[in-house]
Symmetry: C2
Subunit: 228 residues, 2 copies
DNA sequence: CTGCATCCACTTTGATACTG
DNA sequence: CAGTATCAAAGTGGATGCAG
Protein backbone atom coordinates (compact mmCIF):
# COMPACT_ATOMS: atom_id res chain seq x y z
CA UNK A 1 0.00 0.00 0.00
CA UNK A 2 2.43 2.63 1.12
CA UNK A 3 5.37 3.32 -1.15
CA UNK A 4 8.88 2.22 -0.45
CA UNK A 5 10.85 4.83 1.42
CA UNK A 6 14.09 6.34 0.20
CA UNK A 7 15.36 6.38 3.77
CA UNK A 8 16.59 9.96 3.47
CA UNK A 9 15.81 12.82 5.85
CA UNK A 10 15.94 15.32 2.98
CA UNK A 11 12.49 16.88 2.44
CA UNK A 12 12.82 16.22 -1.27
CA UNK A 13 12.97 12.51 -0.60
CA UNK A 14 9.76 12.57 1.42
CA UNK A 15 7.97 14.67 -1.17
CA UNK A 16 9.13 12.31 -3.89
CA UNK A 17 7.69 9.38 -1.99
CA UNK A 18 4.32 11.09 -2.08
CA UNK A 19 4.30 12.68 -5.51
CA UNK A 20 6.65 10.79 -7.75
CA UNK A 21 4.81 7.60 -8.33
CA UNK A 22 3.15 6.76 -11.58
CA UNK A 23 -0.01 8.79 -12.35
CA UNK A 24 0.09 10.76 -9.11
CA UNK A 25 0.93 14.16 -10.66
CA UNK A 26 -1.90 13.76 -13.16
CA UNK A 27 -4.35 12.90 -10.40
CA UNK A 28 -3.21 16.03 -8.57
CA UNK A 29 -3.75 18.07 -11.72
CA UNK A 30 -7.32 16.81 -11.88
CA UNK A 31 -7.90 17.67 -8.24
CA UNK A 32 -6.46 21.15 -8.75
CA UNK A 33 -8.73 21.58 -11.76
CA UNK A 34 -11.67 20.99 -9.50
CA UNK A 35 -12.67 17.38 -10.09
CA UNK A 36 -13.74 15.73 -6.86
CA UNK A 37 -15.82 12.68 -7.80
CA UNK A 38 -14.16 9.38 -8.58
CA UNK A 39 -15.54 9.20 -12.09
CA UNK A 40 -14.79 12.83 -12.86
CA UNK A 41 -11.21 12.17 -11.85
CA UNK A 42 -11.23 9.13 -14.11
CA UNK A 43 -12.21 11.22 -17.11
CA UNK A 44 -8.99 13.17 -16.66
CA UNK A 45 -6.87 10.01 -16.48
CA UNK A 46 -8.83 7.62 -18.69
CA UNK A 47 -5.94 5.24 -19.20
CA UNK A 48 -5.40 4.72 -15.49
CA UNK A 49 -7.08 1.66 -14.06
CA UNK A 50 -9.77 2.42 -11.46
CA UNK A 51 -8.04 0.14 -9.00
CA UNK A 52 -4.86 2.14 -9.26
CA UNK A 53 -6.72 5.46 -9.00
CA UNK A 54 -8.39 4.21 -5.87
CA UNK A 55 -5.05 3.20 -4.45
CA UNK A 56 -3.45 6.54 -5.28
CA UNK A 57 -6.29 8.47 -3.66
CA UNK A 58 -5.84 6.48 -0.49
CA UNK A 59 -2.14 7.21 -0.52
CA UNK A 60 -2.81 10.90 -0.95
CA UNK A 61 -5.25 10.84 1.96
CA UNK A 62 -2.63 9.11 4.08
CA UNK A 63 -0.10 11.76 3.07
CA UNK A 64 -2.45 14.51 4.20
CA UNK A 65 -2.83 15.95 0.72
CA UNK A 66 -6.40 14.87 0.09
CA UNK A 67 -9.41 14.46 2.35
CA UNK A 68 -12.61 12.57 1.70
CA UNK A 69 -15.91 14.35 2.26
CA UNK A 70 -19.30 12.67 2.08
CA UNK A 71 -21.83 14.36 -0.15
CA UNK A 72 -25.21 12.78 -0.88
CA UNK A 73 -23.75 9.62 0.54
CA UNK A 74 -20.98 9.56 -2.06
CA UNK A 75 -17.36 10.30 -1.28
CA UNK A 76 -15.74 13.35 -2.76
CA UNK A 77 -12.00 13.88 -2.89
CA UNK A 78 -10.84 17.35 -1.97
CA UNK A 79 -7.40 18.86 -1.53
CA UNK A 80 -6.42 19.80 2.00
CA UNK A 81 -4.51 23.01 2.68
CA UNK A 82 -1.29 21.08 2.17
CA UNK A 83 -2.66 19.78 -1.11
CA UNK A 84 -3.73 23.22 -2.28
CA UNK A 85 -0.22 24.45 -1.65
CA UNK A 86 1.12 21.90 -4.12
CA UNK A 87 -0.26 24.16 -6.81
CA UNK A 88 3.02 26.00 -7.45
CA UNK A 89 4.67 22.65 -7.93
CA UNK A 90 2.13 21.39 -10.45
CA UNK A 91 2.28 24.73 -12.25
CA UNK A 92 6.07 24.69 -12.34
CA UNK A 93 6.06 21.21 -13.82
CA UNK A 94 3.53 22.19 -16.44
CA UNK A 95 5.49 25.33 -17.27
CA UNK A 96 8.75 23.46 -17.69
CA UNK A 97 7.00 20.95 -19.93
CA UNK A 98 5.54 23.72 -22.02
CA UNK A 99 8.92 25.39 -22.44
CA UNK A 100 11.12 22.34 -22.95
CA UNK A 101 9.13 19.46 -24.40
CA UNK A 102 9.27 19.31 -28.17
CA UNK A 103 5.98 20.00 -29.87
CA UNK A 104 6.40 16.89 -32.00
CA UNK A 105 6.23 14.85 -28.81
CA UNK A 106 3.17 16.72 -27.58
CA UNK A 107 1.39 16.31 -30.89
CA UNK A 108 2.16 12.60 -31.03
CA UNK A 109 -0.19 11.99 -28.11
CA UNK A 110 -3.50 13.21 -29.39
CA UNK A 111 -6.70 12.22 -27.65
CA UNK A 112 -10.01 13.83 -28.55
CA UNK A 113 -11.86 13.02 -25.33
CA UNK A 114 -9.01 14.37 -23.24
CA UNK A 115 -8.77 17.48 -25.40
CA UNK A 116 -12.47 18.25 -25.22
CA UNK A 117 -12.58 17.55 -21.50
CA UNK A 118 -9.65 19.89 -21.02
CA UNK A 119 -11.19 22.60 -23.16
CA UNK A 120 -14.49 22.28 -21.35
CA UNK A 121 -13.03 23.03 -18.00
CA UNK A 122 -10.28 25.32 -19.21
CA UNK A 123 -12.25 27.98 -21.03
CA UNK A 124 -13.73 30.85 -19.05
CA UNK A 125 -16.50 32.59 -20.99
CA UNK A 126 -15.70 36.19 -20.14
CA UNK A 127 -17.84 38.14 -20.59
CA UNK A 128 -20.50 35.50 -19.89
CA UNK A 129 -22.66 34.66 -22.86
CA UNK A 130 -26.16 36.01 -22.24
CA UNK A 131 -28.02 33.06 -23.70
CA UNK A 132 -27.21 29.44 -24.41
CA UNK A 133 -24.83 28.83 -27.30
CA UNK A 134 -23.95 25.47 -28.79
CA UNK A 135 -20.61 24.89 -30.50
CA UNK A 136 -20.03 21.69 -32.39
CA UNK A 137 -16.54 20.32 -32.95
CA UNK A 138 -16.11 17.97 -35.88
CA UNK A 139 -13.02 15.87 -36.50
CA UNK A 140 -13.69 14.23 -39.88
CA UNK A 141 -10.53 12.12 -39.80
CA UNK A 142 -11.49 10.22 -36.65
CA UNK A 143 -13.62 7.14 -36.23
CA UNK A 144 -17.32 8.04 -36.05
CA UNK A 145 -17.56 7.59 -32.28
CA UNK A 146 -14.92 10.29 -31.75
CA UNK A 147 -15.88 12.70 -34.53
CA UNK A 148 -18.50 14.88 -32.88
CA UNK A 149 -18.40 16.91 -29.69
CA UNK A 150 -20.65 19.66 -28.44
CA UNK A 151 -19.75 22.46 -26.09
CA UNK A 152 -22.81 24.08 -24.55
CA UNK A 153 -22.04 27.51 -23.11
CA UNK A 154 -24.46 29.49 -20.99
CA UNK A 155 -23.45 32.31 -18.68
CA UNK A 156 -20.05 31.29 -17.43
CA UNK A 157 -20.92 27.58 -17.46
CA UNK A 158 -19.56 25.18 -20.05
CA UNK A 159 -20.92 21.70 -20.64
CA UNK A 160 -19.57 18.94 -22.86
CA UNK A 161 -21.66 16.41 -24.74
CA UNK A 162 -20.46 13.49 -26.81
CA UNK A 163 -23.93 12.83 -28.11
CA UNK A 164 -25.97 15.44 -29.95
CA UNK A 165 -27.81 17.50 -27.33
CA UNK A 166 -30.37 18.42 -29.99
CA UNK A 167 -29.89 22.17 -29.68
CA UNK A 168 -29.47 24.41 -32.68
CA UNK A 169 -25.79 24.71 -33.61
CA UNK A 170 -24.51 28.29 -33.36
CA UNK A 171 -20.95 27.51 -34.40
CA UNK A 172 -19.30 24.60 -36.17
CA UNK A 173 -15.57 24.04 -35.78
CA UNK A 174 -14.26 21.52 -38.30
CA UNK A 175 -10.63 20.51 -38.30
CA UNK A 176 -7.92 18.03 -37.62
CA UNK A 177 -7.45 16.88 -34.05
CA UNK A 178 -3.81 17.79 -34.36
CA UNK A 179 -4.52 21.38 -35.28
CA UNK A 180 -7.08 22.01 -32.58
CA UNK A 181 -4.79 20.43 -29.99
CA UNK A 182 -1.94 22.54 -31.30
CA UNK A 183 -3.92 25.76 -30.89
CA UNK A 184 -5.18 24.77 -27.44
CA UNK A 185 -1.64 23.94 -26.30
CA UNK A 186 -0.33 27.25 -27.60
CA UNK A 187 1.84 25.63 -30.27
CA UNK A 188 0.19 27.54 -33.10
CA UNK A 189 -2.30 30.33 -33.62
CA UNK A 190 -5.87 29.66 -34.66
CA UNK A 191 -5.50 32.15 -37.52
CA UNK A 192 -2.55 30.13 -38.85
CA UNK A 193 -4.52 26.91 -38.79
CA UNK A 194 -7.47 28.55 -40.52
CA UNK A 195 -5.20 30.09 -43.15
CA UNK A 196 -3.60 26.67 -43.69
CA UNK A 197 -7.13 25.22 -44.09
CA UNK A 198 -6.53 22.88 -41.17
CA UNK A 199 -9.44 24.38 -39.26
CA UNK A 200 -12.67 25.81 -40.58
CA UNK A 201 -15.12 27.85 -38.55
CA UNK A 202 -18.72 28.34 -39.65
CA UNK A 203 -21.57 30.20 -38.01
CA UNK A 204 -22.15 33.30 -35.92
CA UNK A 205 -19.11 35.58 -36.55
CA UNK A 206 -19.31 37.21 -33.12
CA UNK A 207 -19.35 33.83 -31.41
CA UNK A 208 -16.52 32.72 -33.69
CA UNK A 209 -14.39 35.61 -32.46
CA UNK A 210 -15.17 34.77 -28.85
CA UNK A 211 -14.43 31.11 -29.43
CA UNK A 212 -11.07 32.06 -30.91
CA UNK A 213 -10.20 34.02 -27.79
CA UNK A 214 -11.28 31.16 -25.53
CA UNK A 215 -9.28 28.58 -27.47
CA UNK A 216 -6.14 30.67 -27.25
CA UNK A 217 -6.66 31.59 -23.60
CA UNK A 218 -4.61 28.71 -22.24
CA UNK A 219 -2.38 30.20 -19.53
CA UNK A 220 0.79 28.79 -21.08
CA UNK A 221 0.19 30.65 -24.30
CA UNK A 222 2.21 33.67 -23.34
CA UNK A 223 5.33 31.82 -22.32
CA UNK A 224 7.86 31.42 -25.13
CA UNK A 225 9.01 27.92 -25.91
CA UNK A 226 12.67 27.03 -26.09
CA UNK A 227 12.67 23.93 -28.30
CA UNK A 228 11.38 23.01 -31.72
CA UNK B 1 14.55 1.49 -21.14
CA UNK B 2 12.21 4.36 -21.81
CA UNK B 3 9.30 4.79 -19.45
CA UNK B 4 5.75 3.95 -20.31
CA UNK B 5 3.91 6.93 -21.70
CA UNK B 6 0.74 8.35 -20.22
CA UNK B 7 -0.51 9.06 -23.73
CA UNK B 8 -1.57 12.59 -22.80
CA UNK B 9 -0.63 15.76 -24.66
CA UNK B 10 -0.66 17.74 -21.39
CA UNK B 11 2.86 19.01 -20.62
CA UNK B 12 2.47 17.77 -17.07
CA UNK B 13 2.16 14.23 -18.37
CA UNK B 14 5.36 14.49 -20.37
CA UNK B 15 7.26 16.04 -17.49
CA UNK B 16 5.99 13.32 -15.19
CA UNK B 17 7.30 10.69 -17.56
CA UNK B 18 10.75 12.23 -17.23
CA UNK B 19 10.85 13.23 -13.59
CA UNK B 20 8.42 11.15 -11.64
CA UNK B 21 10.08 7.80 -11.61
CA UNK B 22 11.70 6.35 -8.57
CA UNK B 23 14.93 8.09 -7.46
CA UNK B 24 14.94 10.58 -10.32
CA UNK B 25 14.24 13.71 -8.22
CA UNK B 26 17.02 12.76 -5.82
CA UNK B 27 19.46 12.27 -8.69
CA UNK B 28 18.48 15.70 -9.95
CA UNK B 29 19.09 17.16 -6.51
CA UNK B 30 22.60 15.73 -6.59
CA UNK B 31 23.24 17.18 -10.02
CA UNK B 32 21.95 20.57 -8.93
CA UNK B 33 24.22 20.40 -5.89
CA UNK B 34 27.15 20.06 -8.22
CA UNK B 35 28.00 16.36 -8.24
CA UNK B 36 29.00 15.22 -11.70
CA UNK B 37 30.96 11.98 -11.30
CA UNK B 38 29.16 8.66 -11.07
CA UNK B 39 30.54 7.82 -7.66
CA UNK B 40 29.89 11.30 -6.28
CA UNK B 41 26.30 10.97 -7.39
CA UNK B 42 26.15 7.59 -5.68
CA UNK B 43 27.21 9.11 -2.38
CA UNK B 44 24.07 11.25 -2.49
CA UNK B 45 21.81 8.28 -3.17
CA UNK B 46 23.67 5.46 -1.43
CA UNK B 47 20.65 3.18 -1.29
CA UNK B 48 20.10 3.30 -5.02
CA UNK B 49 21.65 0.44 -6.95
CA UNK B 50 24.36 1.50 -9.41
CA UNK B 51 22.49 -0.26 -12.20
CA UNK B 52 19.44 1.89 -11.60
CA UNK B 53 21.49 5.08 -11.30
CA UNK B 54 23.13 4.28 -14.60
CA UNK B 55 19.74 3.70 -16.18
CA UNK B 56 18.32 6.94 -14.81
CA UNK B 57 21.27 8.96 -16.07
CA UNK B 58 20.77 7.53 -19.54
CA UNK B 59 17.08 8.43 -19.39
CA UNK B 60 17.91 11.98 -18.33
CA UNK B 61 20.38 12.28 -21.21
CA UNK B 62 17.70 11.06 -23.59
CA UNK B 63 15.27 13.59 -22.16
CA UNK B 64 17.75 16.39 -22.79
CA UNK B 65 18.16 17.21 -19.12
CA UNK B 66 21.70 15.89 -18.70
CA UNK B 67 24.70 15.71 -20.98
CA UNK B 68 27.82 13.60 -20.65
CA UNK B 69 31.20 15.26 -20.91
CA UNK B 70 34.49 13.42 -20.99
CA UNK B 71 37.13 14.58 -18.55
CA UNK B 72 40.41 12.72 -18.10
CA UNK B 73 38.80 9.91 -20.04
CA UNK B 74 36.03 9.55 -17.47
CA UNK B 75 32.42 10.57 -18.06
CA UNK B 76 30.92 13.46 -16.13
CA UNK B 77 27.22 14.17 -15.93
CA UNK B 78 26.22 17.80 -16.25
CA UNK B 79 22.85 19.51 -16.43
CA UNK B 80 21.92 21.08 -19.76
CA UNK B 81 20.14 24.44 -19.87
CA UNK B 82 16.82 22.57 -19.69
CA UNK B 83 18.12 20.69 -16.68
CA UNK B 84 19.33 23.83 -14.95
CA UNK B 85 15.88 25.30 -15.35
CA UNK B 86 14.43 22.43 -13.36
CA UNK B 87 15.91 24.14 -10.33
CA UNK B 88 12.69 25.98 -9.36
CA UNK B 89 10.88 22.66 -9.45
CA UNK B 90 13.37 20.90 -7.20
CA UNK B 91 13.35 23.88 -4.86
CA UNK B 92 9.54 23.98 -4.77
CA UNK B 93 9.42 20.30 -3.88
CA UNK B 94 11.97 20.73 -1.14
CA UNK B 95 10.15 23.77 0.20
CA UNK B 96 6.81 21.97 0.31
CA UNK B 97 8.43 19.06 2.09
CA UNK B 98 10.01 21.37 4.62
CA UNK B 99 6.72 23.08 5.33
CA UNK B 100 4.38 20.09 5.33
CA UNK B 101 6.23 16.92 6.26
CA UNK B 102 6.07 16.14 9.96
CA UNK B 103 9.39 16.38 11.73
CA UNK B 104 8.81 12.97 13.32
CA UNK B 105 8.89 11.51 9.83
CA UNK B 106 12.04 13.42 8.91
CA UNK B 107 13.79 12.37 12.11
CA UNK B 108 12.84 8.74 11.59
CA UNK B 109 15.17 8.54 8.60
CA UNK B 110 18.54 9.35 10.07
CA UNK B 111 21.68 8.51 8.16
CA UNK B 112 25.08 9.76 9.31
CA UNK B 113 26.89 9.42 5.99
CA UNK B 114 24.12 11.27 4.17
CA UNK B 115 24.03 13.96 6.86
CA UNK B 116 27.77 14.57 6.79
CA UNK B 117 27.86 14.53 2.99
CA UNK B 118 25.04 17.06 2.94
CA UNK B 119 26.72 19.28 5.51
CA UNK B 120 30.01 19.11 3.65
CA UNK B 121 28.60 20.49 0.47
CA UNK B 122 25.96 22.68 2.09
CA UNK B 123 28.05 24.88 4.31
CA UNK B 124 29.69 27.96 2.85
CA UNK B 125 32.54 29.20 5.04
CA UNK B 126 31.92 32.93 4.82
CA UNK B 127 34.16 34.67 5.60
CA UNK B 128 36.67 32.05 4.44
CA UNK B 129 38.78 30.59 7.20
CA UNK B 130 42.35 31.85 6.79
CA UNK B 131 44.06 28.60 7.71
CA UNK B 132 43.06 24.97 7.79
CA UNK B 133 40.64 23.97 10.57
CA UNK B 134 39.58 20.46 11.44
CA UNK B 135 36.24 19.76 13.06
CA UNK B 136 35.49 16.31 14.37
CA UNK B 137 31.92 15.05 14.72
CA UNK B 138 31.37 12.25 17.19
CA UNK B 139 28.16 10.23 17.48
CA UNK B 140 28.76 8.01 20.52
CA UNK B 141 25.48 6.11 20.07
CA UNK B 142 26.35 4.71 16.64
CA UNK B 143 28.32 1.64 15.67
CA UNK B 144 32.06 2.37 15.63
CA UNK B 145 32.28 2.58 11.85
CA UNK B 146 29.78 5.47 11.81
CA UNK B 147 30.87 7.29 14.96
CA UNK B 148 33.58 9.59 13.68
CA UNK B 149 33.62 12.15 10.90
CA UNK B 150 36.01 14.98 10.15
CA UNK B 151 35.27 18.19 8.31
CA UNK B 152 38.40 19.89 7.05
CA UNK B 153 37.81 23.54 6.22
CA UNK B 154 40.32 25.74 4.46
CA UNK B 155 39.49 28.97 2.68
CA UNK B 156 36.03 28.36 1.29
CA UNK B 157 36.70 24.66 0.67
CA UNK B 158 35.21 21.90 2.82
CA UNK B 159 36.38 18.32 2.78
CA UNK B 160 34.90 15.28 4.51
CA UNK B 161 36.85 12.36 5.91
CA UNK B 162 35.50 9.18 7.46
CA UNK B 163 38.94 8.13 8.61
CA UNK B 164 41.09 10.27 10.85
CA UNK B 165 43.05 12.66 8.60
CA UNK B 166 45.62 12.99 11.35
CA UNK B 167 45.34 16.75 11.69
CA UNK B 168 45.05 18.46 15.05
CA UNK B 169 41.36 18.79 16.03
CA UNK B 170 40.27 22.41 16.42
CA UNK B 171 36.70 21.66 17.35
CA UNK B 172 34.90 18.56 18.59
CA UNK B 173 31.14 18.26 18.15
CA UNK B 174 29.70 15.41 20.19
CA UNK B 175 25.99 14.61 20.04
CA UNK B 176 23.16 12.41 18.96
CA UNK B 177 22.66 11.93 15.25
CA UNK B 178 19.06 12.95 15.74
CA UNK B 179 19.95 16.30 17.27
CA UNK B 180 22.55 17.26 14.70
CA UNK B 181 20.20 16.28 11.89
CA UNK B 182 17.44 18.27 13.54
CA UNK B 183 19.58 21.40 13.70
CA UNK B 184 20.80 20.96 10.14
CA UNK B 185 17.22 20.50 8.88
CA UNK B 186 16.08 23.61 10.74
CA UNK B 187 13.82 21.66 13.09
CA UNK B 188 15.55 22.95 16.21
CA UNK B 189 18.20 25.48 17.18
CA UNK B 190 21.70 24.46 18.07
CA UNK B 191 21.46 26.43 21.32
CA UNK B 192 18.41 24.37 22.30
CA UNK B 193 20.21 21.11 21.67
CA UNK B 194 23.24 22.28 23.63
CA UNK B 195 21.04 23.45 26.51
CA UNK B 196 19.28 20.07 26.48
CA UNK B 197 22.71 18.41 26.59
CA UNK B 198 22.03 16.64 23.29
CA UNK B 199 25.01 18.28 21.68
CA UNK B 200 28.33 19.32 23.18
CA UNK B 201 30.88 21.56 21.53
CA UNK B 202 34.48 21.67 22.67
CA UNK B 203 37.41 23.64 21.34
CA UNK B 204 38.18 27.02 19.82
CA UNK B 205 35.27 29.31 20.86
CA UNK B 206 35.54 31.49 17.75
CA UNK B 207 35.41 28.46 15.48
CA UNK B 208 32.53 27.12 17.57
CA UNK B 209 30.55 30.29 16.89
CA UNK B 210 31.29 30.05 13.17
CA UNK B 211 30.37 26.38 13.12
CA UNK B 212 27.03 27.22 14.77
CA UNK B 213 26.28 29.73 12.05
CA UNK B 214 27.21 27.27 9.31
CA UNK B 215 25.09 24.50 10.78
CA UNK B 216 22.06 26.75 10.94
CA UNK B 217 22.62 28.24 7.51
CA UNK B 218 20.41 25.74 5.69
CA UNK B 219 18.27 27.78 3.28
CA UNK B 220 15.02 26.29 4.57
CA UNK B 221 15.72 27.53 8.03
CA UNK B 222 13.82 30.76 7.62
CA UNK B 223 10.61 29.26 6.30
CA UNK B 224 8.05 28.52 9.00
CA UNK B 225 6.76 24.99 9.17
CA UNK B 226 3.05 24.21 9.21
CA UNK B 227 2.89 20.80 10.86
CA UNK B 228 4.13 19.27 14.08
C1' DC C 1 -24.04 4.30 -12.62
C1' DT C 2 -20.23 4.71 -8.81
C1' DG C 3 -16.46 2.86 -6.44
C1' DC C 4 -14.01 -0.24 -5.74
C1' DA C 5 -11.78 -5.72 -4.99
C1' DT C 6 -9.56 -9.60 -7.09
C1' DC C 7 -6.82 -12.20 -10.14
C1' DC C 8 -3.09 -12.61 -13.46
C1' DA C 9 0.56 -11.33 -16.81
C1' DC C 10 4.07 -8.16 -17.25
C1' DT C 11 7.54 -4.59 -15.89
C1' DT C 12 10.42 -2.27 -12.60
C1' DT C 13 13.25 -2.30 -8.66
C1' DG C 14 16.46 -4.09 -4.92
C1' DA C 15 20.30 -6.90 -3.38
C1' DT C 16 24.36 -8.74 -4.28
C1' DA C 17 28.11 -9.89 -6.81
C1' DC C 18 31.30 -9.15 -10.41
C1' DT C 19 34.22 -6.94 -14.53
C1' DG C 20 37.14 -3.82 -17.68
C1' DC D 1 36.47 4.53 -11.15
C1' DA D 2 32.45 3.35 -13.62
C1' DG D 3 29.65 0.69 -14.35
C1' DT D 4 27.10 -4.88 -15.70
C1' DA D 5 24.93 -9.28 -14.52
C1' DT D 6 21.72 -11.90 -12.24
C1' DC D 7 17.63 -13.16 -9.86
C1' DA D 8 13.99 -12.49 -6.41
C1' DA D 9 10.52 -9.18 -4.83
C1' DA D 10 7.51 -5.53 -5.50
C1' DG D 11 4.75 -2.54 -8.36
C1' DT D 12 1.61 -1.86 -12.46
C1' DG D 13 -1.96 -2.62 -16.11
C1' DG D 14 -5.96 -4.99 -17.84
C1' DA D 15 -9.89 -7.75 -17.37
C1' DT D 16 -13.53 -9.03 -14.76
C1' DG D 17 -16.79 -9.12 -10.97
C1' DC D 18 -19.80 -7.05 -7.71
C1' DA D 19 -22.20 -4.36 -3.98
C1' DG D 20 -24.84 -0.11 -3.08
Amino acid sequence: MTNASYGQFCPLAMVSEILCTRWTPLVLRELHCGSARFNDLRRGVPKMSPALLSKRLKELVLAGVVEVRRRDGNPEYHLTQAGLELRPLVDAMMLWGHVWVESTVTLSKLDPSLLMWDIRRGIRPDPPVPQRRTIQFLYPELVPADQNWWLVVEGAEVGLCYVDPGYEIDLLVTGSLRSVTSVWMGLSRLSQEVAARQVQIDGDPALARQMGLWLESHPMNKVPRRVA
